[in-house]
């Protein structure tokens, strides 16, 4: 984090948000049981213990995505990041974790700074991750083998980089939505929510 305690730059903000996504996605994957719990290791971040994957393939994939995302955050061209959980048997989308990103486009490059301490931002991030952890209590159990995908909503004029391709929004046909907390670095505002397939039994 390149910023001082008092201010925050665009670069620092992008890094903070990208770091949040890295931990948030790992948390969701652990909490929702997409990957077996033994492939995760405990680390301490944001003054709380979180789980990070040790699966090499998953690690490289997440690294690729987060690095690319950091660039787009710096360019302020990313609108949403969506984690889609798909059932492998039926190819049905069961859960959709959506993170809306609002960028303050008035700040460019490393020029301007904003007044907000990292501590306060991290406090907000911590509460968001806590909420993600708590959602396990009401989300329906994933009974089938599932996999996940990360979608990024970018501006229309954004050039699609190599290895990336356009995708559909992968929406859930009949969903329940729950809005989660929001945090802001004053440059990027990330509001999170989860949509899940409505189950008949309830």
């Amino acid at each position: 984090m390149s910023s001082t305690l008092k201010g925050i730059t665009l670069k620092g903000s992008a890094e903070l948000v990208a770091e949040f996504f890295s931990f948030g996605i790992n948390s969701i994957l652990y909490q929702r049981g997409i990957y077996p719990p033994e492939t995760f290791t405990r680390v301490t971040q944001y003054d709380m213990s979180l789980y990070l994957t040790v699966d090499p393939n998953l690690k490289t994939y997440l690294n690729d995505v987060v690095t690319q995302l950091k660039g787009w955050l710096f360019d302020c061209t990313v609108q949403k990041l969506v984690l889609v959980i798909t059932c492998l048997e039926t190819n049905e989308v069961l859960e959709r974790w959506q993170f809306d990103i609002e960028c303050d486009k008035t700040i460019t490059g490393s020029s301007g700074t904003r007044e907000k301490s990292i501590k306060a931002i991290q406090e907000e991030i911590r509460s968001v991750i806590r909420q993600i952890t708590a959602t396990v209590t009401f989300l329906p159990l994933l009974e089938t083998a599932c996999s996940f995908d990360l979608l990024i909503y970018t501006d229309k004029d954004q050039v699609v980089p190599e290895k990336w391709e356009e995708s559909g929004p992968k929406m859930i046909a009949d969903s329940e939505e729950v809005r989660l907390r929001t945090f802001t670095t004053t440059i990027h505002k990330v509001s999170s929510m989860v949509a899940y397939k409505r189950t008949d039994c309830i």
């Binding site: 393939n57 998953l58 994939y61 690729d64 995505v65 609108q79 949403k80 969506v82 889609v84 798909t86 492998l88 190819n91 959709r96 959506q98 809306d100 083998a145 996999s147 996940f148 995908d149 990360l150 979608l151 990024i152 909503y153 970018t154 501006d155 229309k156 954004q158 699609v160 290895k163 990336w164 391709e165 356009e166 995708s167 559909g168 929004p169 992968k170 929406m171 859930i172 969903s175 939505e177 809005r179 929510m193 949509a195």
Partner: protein, 715 residues
């Protein structure tokens, strides 16, 4: 005997011969009679007869000779026959033997032939075997060569191992030495142990003796205690007896006293019963008293209440009289009160409506007053304006007059000029001036007209204002009139207010509806946003091509493909299995190797079988052991011939087939029955004694054993 027969035959022949000789004279007579008829024939016949007779004599002699010869011959013949018969017998026997031998030989030949055939067959087989063996021998030779190489290697290792063995032997010897020393030590220790054991045995013996004595001691002690107890009892008894004696002396007095006391007692009992009755009565009375007191108190209170009630009633009656209403009961009153209250509520409502209308009217009045004041001020202003306008009008009229005069003057001058300057050269100038003046005039006139129009307008305005003020004053008056009355106008006002209110409500409702709609739309927008909808003109969704979902799907497809292949293979295998066993083994080895589970199961099966085998062996061994032990201990070998039948053969049985047969009947061989055998028939006494009288099979068996044993020892 045969000889005798022969002689008799000889005699009989002789007799017959004599008789035959004597016969011919009698027999010749019939032919003589025939001769008389036939001489020649007779002579011939005589001759012939003579010849025949001679011949007959000759033949008779001959016959005799022959007969003698014959007899001899017959004798010899008989002898020969006898000999021949003997020989025939012998030869027949020989023949039979020969025939037997022949048959045997034939059988042998047949057997030999069969054997030969077998041997040829076996030979062929052997040949084939030989061939295969040769082949295998070649293989074996190759293997042997390989093995030899291995053996040579092994020999080398053997050498090394031998060295090791030598060393180990050395060690072993050392260890043996140690072992021998140890064993000697052990022996010494064992001897010591023996000694110790003996000592221990002695000690145990002593201990047992001691225990026995101790037990005796304890018994004795117990006896002593018993006796002591008895003694004490005796002493007590004696004391008691003494006491009893003294008491006995006192008995007559006591009896007298007892009588007296009994009488007293009966008297007292009676009195007690009386007193009990009295007590109960008093108790009953007390309770009655208490109840009565309570009743009294209740009565007092009730009376008080009654008085109160009476007063209340009086008051009610008075009230009814006073009010003159039809109140006789509290229900009436309550009904009245309810009516009154309803009336009051209605009145209150009216009052409220009236007051609210009054308030509304007052508000309206205040508004109107404000309007009136405004209008008054406006009217004043208008009046002022009018005055100003009037003044202005007057001034303008004056000016108009002046101007008309001036114009007239000017016209006169102009006319004069015209008349004068008809031919004048200044005329163009003048005409121009006139024109200018006329223009001016026209302008002025237009201005005038405008002003006049303004004036009229202002006047009209004033008029309207005035009208308005008048109206307002009128209204004010009306309101002033209405204010005290209020009632009349309140309806109108109410209507207005209500209509206004309705409008307000309608507007409010519409506003709310619109707000709701707005909210719903916002919610929908939010929901769409939550569901991940996006504006495709501004946004696009991208993701990494090699994302985990795609990879997982690919893996899944591969897996399905793999499983399908496996399924296909398995199906083929099943088909092959159904087709025939021989092919399957090949295919089985060709197709997938057995899974780990199958291997494990096989191993388990093998181990289970091995276990079973071992158990069987152990069981067999144990059973054998048990049987031999039974045999040695009881002297009977027990065999199970058929179900529920047991054959017992004694050790000391005289014959192998001497055995006893038992049949088990009842559940699990509960009772046994002796079955009759050849051997058991000889033991009738023992059966009688032990089975019928004593009803004990073991005793019977022991008796049999003893019996047999004694017989054997005697022999």
């Amino acid at each position: 005997m045969d000889g005798m027969d022969d002689e008799t035959t000889v005699f009989t022949t002789l007799k017959s011969f004599k008789s035959f000789i004597s016969k011919p004279e009698t027999s010749q007579k019939p032919p003589d009679s025939s001769l008389a008829h036939h001489h020649l024939q007779r002579q011939y016949l005589q001759r012939i007869e003579m010849e025949e007779a001679a011949e007959k004599i000759c033949s008779k002699t001959h016959l005799l000779q022959m007969a003698q010869e014959k007899q001899q011959m017959e004798l010899s013949h008989k002898r020969a026959r006898i000999e021949l018969e003997k020989a025939a017998h012998i030869s027949a026997r020989d023949l039979e033997r020969e025939v037997d031998r022949n048959q045997e030989l034939l059988n042998r030949i047949k057997k030999l032939e069969e054997r030969e055939a077998e041997t040829t067959r076996t030979l062929n087989e052997q040949m084939e075997m030989n061939k295969t063996l040769k082949k295998s021998l070649e293989g074996e030779n190759k293997k042997l060569e390989e093995k030899e190489s291995v053996i040579s290697e092994a020999n080398k290792t053997n050498g090394a191992l031998r060295d090791e063995i030598r060393e180990l032997n050395h060690k072993l010897k050392k260890l043996d030495m140690q072992l021998t020393t140890q064993s000697t030590d052990n022996q010494g220790l064992q001897e010591q142990l023996e000694l110790q054991r003996k000592k221990y045995q002695e000690l145990t013996m002593k201990f047992q003796e001691l225990q026995a004595t101790q037990s005796l001691n304890s018994d004795n002690e117990l006896k002593i205690k018993e006796l002591e107890r008895r003694l004490a009892l005796q002493e007590q008894d004696s004391v008691i007896v003494r006491n009893m004696k003294s008491e006995l002396a006192r008995l007559p007095d006591m009896e007298r006293e007892l009588k007296r006391l009994r009488e007293e007692n009966s008297y007292l009992r009676e009195t007690q019963e009386n007193s009990n009755l009295l007590r109960e009565e008093t108790e009953g009375l007390r309770r009655k008293l208490e109840r009565l007191e309570k009743l009294k108190e209740d009565m007092v209170s009730l009376e008080l209440e009654k008085e109160k009630q009476a007063t209340v009633l009086q008051a009610w009656e008075n009230l009814s009289e006073m009010t003159g209403l039809n109140i006789r009961k509290p229900e009436d009153l309550s009904r009245e009160i309810i009516q009154i209250q309803q009336r009051e509520i209605a009145l209150k409502q009216q009052n409220h409506s009236v007051t609210s209308s009054a308030r509304a009217l007052e508000k309206a009045r205040a508004q109107l007053q404000g309007e009136v004041t405004d209008l008054r001020t406006k009217a004043l202003e208008e009046q002022k304006k009018r005055e100003q306008q009037d003044a202005l009008v007057r001034r303008l009229q004056k000016r108009v007059l002046l101007l008309t005069k001036e114009r007239d003057g000017m016209k006169a001058i102009l006319e004069s000029y015209d008349s004068e300057l008809a031919t004048n050269e200044y005329s163009p100038q003048l005409t121009r001036r006139v024109k200018e003046a006329e223009d001016m005039l026209q302008k002025v006139q237009a201005h005038n007209l405008e002003i006049e129009a303004q004036l009229s307008k202002a006047q009209e305005e004033i008029g309207t204002y005035k009208l308005q003020t008048q109206k307002a004053e009128m209204e004010l008056d009306v309101l002033k009139k209405q204010a005290p009355g209020a009632e009349n106008s309140s309806f109108v006002m109410n209507e207005e207010v209500s209509s206004l209110r309705q409008k307000i409500e309608e507007l409010e409702a519409e506003r709310r509806r619109l707000e709701d709609q707005n909210n719903i739309l916002e919610m929908r927008l939010e929901k769409h946003n939550l569901q991940g909808a996006y504006d495709p003109t501004k946004t696009k969704v991208i993701h990494l091509r090699m994302n985990p979902t795609n990879i997982a799907k690919q893996q899944r497809l591969d897996e399905v493909e793999h499983l399908r292949e496996e399924c296909q293979q398995l199906r083929e295998r099943i088909r092959a299995l159904q087709a025939g066993g021989a092919v399957t083994s090949n295919e089985g080895t060709l197709s997938l190797p057995p899974s780990q589970e199958v291997l494990d199961l096989r191993r388990q099966l093998e181990s289970a079988e091995l276990k079973n085998q071992r158990l069987k062996e152990v069981f067999q061994k144990k059973i054998q052991e048990f049987r031999t032990v039974c045999y040695v201990l009881t002297g009977y070998q027990i065999d199970i011939t058929t179900e529920n039948q047991y054959r017992l053969t004694s050790v000391y049985a005289e014959h192998m087939e001497d055995s006893l047969l038992f049949k088990a009947s009842g559940p699990a061989g509960g009772s046994m029955q002796l079955l009759e055998t050849d051997f058991s028939r000889t033991l009738r006494e023992l059966v009688e004694l032990h089975l019928f009288h004593q009803n004990s099979i073991p005793a019977f068996l022991s008796a049999v054993t003893l019996d047999l044993f004694s017989r054997q020892t005697i022999v």
